[in-house]
């Protein structure tokens, strides 16, 4: 017969350690969190990132300016056109180039379409994490239509490499305009359907309200930008504060939340999708005629007919591809409003073919630091929802 062993009651509680990631069905990207838990409540979290570190900043020092667009695609890959345009605008700022209005409006249309694509992923995945698969399946159809629009304009679906330094590489074809108009006509109904499924749904609201909140002061202290900051109550949007690419010609509101919890982040993104549709409508209505690229023969490839027939164009083509054009020396910083906030490019040029130093201000990396604090005291399933509502994209986190 076994003796009755005395189990001495410990004074302190024993916490269990749970390893969340790096491979996990619900983490949207690979990053690890080691959680110290008291039952279901999270006491502490220790994040580890860098599982997809691809050394963008070092790679950019070895690639000529036009090849870096390909790298910027892979930062926030859910909305790659915005990253591309941001890079092009940085180089154009360095060169002091003036882009024609038509090119800027075309850029705005593409950027807003990709913002809608990014927010579709984020919002439908928030719904999937609460258990609602339907929104994901319905809205991804419209994402396919956005992909088709991108394919019509630049040839690729996801990592687009769209536009060139100096404007766009080609004007939109008739097929592209037809697809954009089809999207404008049919997407609002689909978005309204998704809203009606989820926004005032009792279960969704109970799950997401007060889940992972953050105050505005803390958010500013941690360097939040984008929908996460706007959900906390601060109306900071780079498109309004430092307008670029003719955004000040358009009329749109900045949706702002109150608590900074998951529900507010979801609603801010929903409303931003409606605002993006408004901007696209305005851009199409006011679209001016004109060239779709700046007159920048040193950096913008001449059209092929001229290269084959015209000596000057041939020489420019050679110089651009081999990187023998004169880039001004200097340092420039330009920021665009990406899907997650202020995506900044700090470029130091020493006059050579490749940048001397290129630093990406990646919004995901900066605001993910606040994650352990946001989930402290909450439950494990709330931690998953908080992570998906912050829209952490691993490519941008690690770069």
């Amino acid at each position: 017969m076994a003796e009755n062993k005395e189990i001495e009651k410990k004074e302190e509680k024993e916490y269990s350690i749970l390893n969340l990631g790096p491979t996990h069905p619900a983490t949207h990207g690979i990053f690890q969190n080691i959680l110290k838990m008291d039952g279901e409540i999270i006491m502490e979290a220790e994040p580890t990132v860098g599982y997809i570190h691809r050394a963008f900043e070092k790679l950019a020092e070895r690639r000529p300016y036009y090849q870096i667009t390909v790298l910027t695609d892979r930062l926030n890959y859910c909305s790659s056109p915005i990253n591309n345009m941001g890079w092009h605008m940085t180089v154009e700022k360095l060169l002091g180039a003036k882009i024609p209005k038509r090119a800027e409006y075309l850029r705005v249309i593409i950027m807003e379409l990709s913002r809608i694509a990014d927010h579709i992923i984020c919002n439908t995945v928030i719904a999937v994490d609460t258990g609602a698969m339907t929104g994901f399946l319905y809205l991804f159809q419209w994402r396919e239509l956005i992909y088709e629009i991108f394919e019509e304009i630049c040839g690729a679906r996801l990592t687009t490499n769209i536009g060139r330094i100096g404007g766009m590489e080609r004007d939109f074809s008739k097929k592209a305009w037809d697809k954009i108009n089809k999207f404008r006509k049919e997407f609002p109904a689909a978005l309204k359907e998704f809203s009606s499924l989820v926004e005032r749904n009792r279960i969704f609201m109970d799950r997401t309200i007060k889940c992972g909140p953050i105050t505005a002061e803390k958010a500013l202290d941690y360097g939040f930008t984008g929908p996460n900051l706007r959900a906390a109550g601060v109306d900071y949007d780079v498109r309004v504060m430092n307008p670029y690419s003719s955004y000040d010609d358009f009329d749109f509101i900045i949706p702002v939340g109150t608590n900074g919890d998951t529900y507010d982040r979801f609603m801010v993104r929903q409303q931003e999708m409606w605002e993006s549709l408004k901007i696209i409508d305005q851009a199409i209505a006011k679209m001016p005629d004109g060239p779709f690229h700046a007159d920048l023969p040193e950096f913008y490839l001449p059209p092929k007919e001229e290269v084959y027939n015209n000596m000057e164009a041939l020489i420019y083509h050679f110089k651009i591809v081999m990187g023998e054009n004169d880039v001004p020396k200097g340092e420039v910083y330009h920021a665009v409003e990406g899907g997650n906030g202020e995506l900044g490019f700090y470029l130091v040029s020493d006059g050579g073919r490749t940048p001397y130093r290129l630093h990406f201000r990646r919004p995901c990396f900066i605001y993910y630091q606040a994650y352990p604090e946001m989930i402290k005291g909450g439950m494990l399933s709330d931690a998953i929802l908080t992570m998906s509502s912050m829209n952490v994209i691993a490519g941008e986190l690690d770069a």
């Binding site: 050394a55 070092k58 360097g223 630091q369 606040a370």
Partner: protein, 161 residues
């Protein structure tokens, strides 16, 4: 923008080494002894309450000032942006941390430690963040190669690595 320069010069005098304008940013080069106080002054007295970014720099040709850190601050209510730079020698890569002022600097300083080996004095948790912990060099310094050394099928003469 002149007000910033005036007030900085008035309060800190010779800690501000130079003032330039690069495109649309006023850039001030400051000493490493004064950088914490200058950033504190900018945050508390002049309203620059948002740290946009910070990054490391490496100029191997400037003897005595090879490594550097660049800070960008943003005054949102007035929409002023300013850039500060600090330089220090590679033999003594120490600079004070600004984590007590801005929590956003925590991981960004770890990233610059990882890439350049810049030691931020007073940082709560200065270890590598993006690279593997076992790595024993700081890859973004100019003397190190980009490529993976174990790859033997790419010919350097043809691929120009």
């Amino acid at each position: 923008m002149n007000t910033i320069h005036e007030r900085l010069k008035a309060s800190f005098g010779d800690a501000v080494l130079s003032a330039e304008q690069h495109y649309d940013f006023p850039v001030y080069e400051v000493t490493r002894e004064g950088v914490y106080d200058i950033i504190k002054f900018l945050k508390e007295e002049m309203g620059f309450g948002f740290l946009t970014t910070l990054c490391g720099l490496h100029y191997p040709d400037n003897k005595g000032k090879e490594l550097g850190v660049m800070y960008q601050l943003h005054n949102m209510p007035r929409n002023w942006r300013v850039r500060l730079k600090v330089f220090f020698p590679v033999a003594d890569p120490v600079v004070p941390t600004i984590t007590p002022l801005f929590s956003a600097a925590n991981w960004q300083e770890r990233q610059e430690y990882d890439f350049f080996g810049i030691i931020f004095k007073g940082h709560p948790n200065l270890k590598r963040i993006l690279n593997m912990d076992e790595m024993n060099y700081h890859p973004l310094r100019k003397e190190y190669a980009l490529e993976d050394a174990s790859r033997d099928d790419k010919d350097d003469s043809m691929f120009g690595r």
